[in-house]
Subunit: 353 residues, 2 copies
């Protein structure tokens, strides 16, 4: 299929969000455009800083519109304050573009709490979802595992967790093409009596299995990257800590390997010989490859890039937005929720544990 | 120093705890004895199963006493039930041996909740500590980081977290020889307004800094293995999930590397050349090397081995018990708590953030 025949996808980018913004936002967009020529970008940010960066990428500049704003949501801004005072911020204007229909999705590497608060305020949640959740995929030796919530909701009740399970299941089905994703609830032990009260209540709700989800009970932290479960459901506090702990170990491991390969002439030669295979393996768990978390449950597509992302990482977050927009994720979740409430998919199975 | 001149250390072992018990308990003890000839073991378990294993290791058999019991605490036993009904279990009798003075420390790879409940009931907490915590060390590119609680207390209040900080600080000073360990509180963001209410309250307590701890504020999941902080304080739910998530990624990484090195002839040769350096690097993050979590805050030394540990892992857990017993950890924590309450160590510093 030629690029010309693909429908245009229009992305609103918060040019000022992230530790290395606006440079990595523009460079990431340029990388994404090289891969997906059917993109159009709406950049929101400080013209004096963004324009010179765009000018370095003529192809990108001609596929982009730059909307000037000097207002920025800082990383330490409280979400409530950002929501009130940041109406002209690059983040907010980029979100508004999705609501206006000017863009198909928004991508920001800025303050997560502010992005969630603004996106929820502007785009609203879809009917049946009380709180949106942040979802992303994690590498495993098998197919990737979906994990949510990664930080949108510090405290969650059983209903929230059940809604996350529904959304995570649709996400895994639609994005990863898994016919009947298995779902686990993150806990400190697989025994039913362990864990917080909300977890036990969520377990009971999911066990009732009125939703016809393939719920497999409690899972533990090491199941996240084991490939034993397709969707890991947790609250935003636990999910965020687990995600970052996992990223930290991946970085530690990569550094120890680098040190080992440069420690002697023999190991340098060894690296050179094994390089192709090693680079392939490392790519499979490169956190940049997994960058781009989706804010699930909103009436529009919003993707959060890691704040520390570089251009490659940001380009991956753009890739997630493209996937979601192409798939029509919002509509798929809405359909699923309507189906869950109206006509059940099939006779309930007995869930295996 | 010859082995003969070292004081004898007497360890009580729960021979029946752990997925691969009693085999890996006996094999682990044999490994530990080869390294530390000054050990004496008290095995508690099923004589019919343990005796034949001991007979395979004559040196170990002659350094050991086997106390028969057929009662075992299962992995799915509720702590409260184990406490009531498991008075003749191998786990309980091994803990009793520490209380009786027959052993200097107990090591078990069994049910964590039951071990904690029994150890707390039998050994009591030291004055000033309401709840014991499970602590272990994590690998980093620099010196190791101490993390606690790893699963003893699913919910913690601000006072619990503050007590964990005190105990973790002593642990880091005594075990890792860090003169003034830095302390961080695990959260989802480094901004003060984030996180649970108990976390904010604990932050305020530690900020007051009456304890003269070097408190550095909130840290995030990726700080656990970054070497940026000496002691990471968290509740047992979050700590357990983070620990297991970290272990999961380490396993995933190791598997991907193995696959990469066996994927072609060239990479096999590459591995052979770099092997020495790679094995050294891998050892640094081998979860078995970090096996052996200590139950801090008790009136005796109790070490929890990972339930899935093999002989090498269990031998490491024994090594932790030896260290703690040699150092007199319980007395050091008691001294520190008395000093904290009575005579302050020095004029309070202003904590750096």
């Amino acid at each position: 299929m030629s690029a010309q025949s693909q429908p245009e996808i229009r992305l609103a980018l918060d040019a000022m969000g992230g530790d290395r913004a606006p440079d990595m936002v523009v460079a990431g967009a340029a990388l994404a455009l090289a891969q997906h020529p059917n993109l159009r970008f709406l950049f929101f940010g400080d013209e004096a800083r963004v324009r010179p960066l765009l000018d370095r990428h003529p192809a990108l500049a001609s596929a982009s519109t730059l909307m000037h704003t000097s207002d920025i949501v800082t990383n330490d801004a409280k979400p409530s304050v950002a929501l009130r005072a940041g109406r002209q911020s690059s983040m907010r204007l980029a979100i508004n573009a999705v609501d206006d229909g000017a863009a198909d999705a928004v991508v920001s590497a800025g303050n997560t709490g502010a992005l969630m608060a603004m996106a929820k305020f502007v785009l609203k949640t879809v009917p049946g979802i009380d709180r949106p959740a942040i979802a992303s995929i994690m590498p495993t030796p098998r197919r990737p595992t979906v994990m949510l919530d990664l930080g949108a909701n510090v405290e969650c009740d059983a209903d929230n967790l059940m809604q996350f399970a529904i959304m995570g299941e649709v996400f895994a089905r639609v994005l990863l093409n898994i016919e009947r994703p298995t779902i686990g609830l993150l806990n400190v032990g697989s025994e039913e009596q362990k864990g917080h009260e909300e977890l036990r209540a969520a377990h009971a709700l999911l066990r009732e299995n009125k939703l016809n989800l393939d719920f497999r009970g409690f899972v533990e932290g090491d199941d996240i990257t084991a490939g034993t479960i397709d969707v890991v459901v947790t609250d935003g506090f636990t999910g965020n800590v687990a995600l970052k702990a996992a990223e930290g170990v991946a970085r530690l491991y990569a550094q120890l390997m680098r040190d080992a390969f440069s420690s002697s002439l023999l190991s340098k030669i060894g690296y050179a010989l094994a390089k192709t295979a090693l680079v392939r393996a490392r790519k499979r768990i490169d956190p940049r490859r997994y960058n781009g978390a989706i804010l699930l449950g909103l009436g529009g597509i919003a993707v959060k890039s890691h704040g520390g992302a570089d251009a490659i990482g940001f380009a991956n977050a753009i890739g997630v937005a493209i996937n979601m927009a192409s798939i029509g994720l919002v509509e798929r979740i809405q359909e699923e929720l309507q189906r869950q409430n109206g006509e059940p998919r099939a006779a309930p199975h007995t869930a295996a544990v």
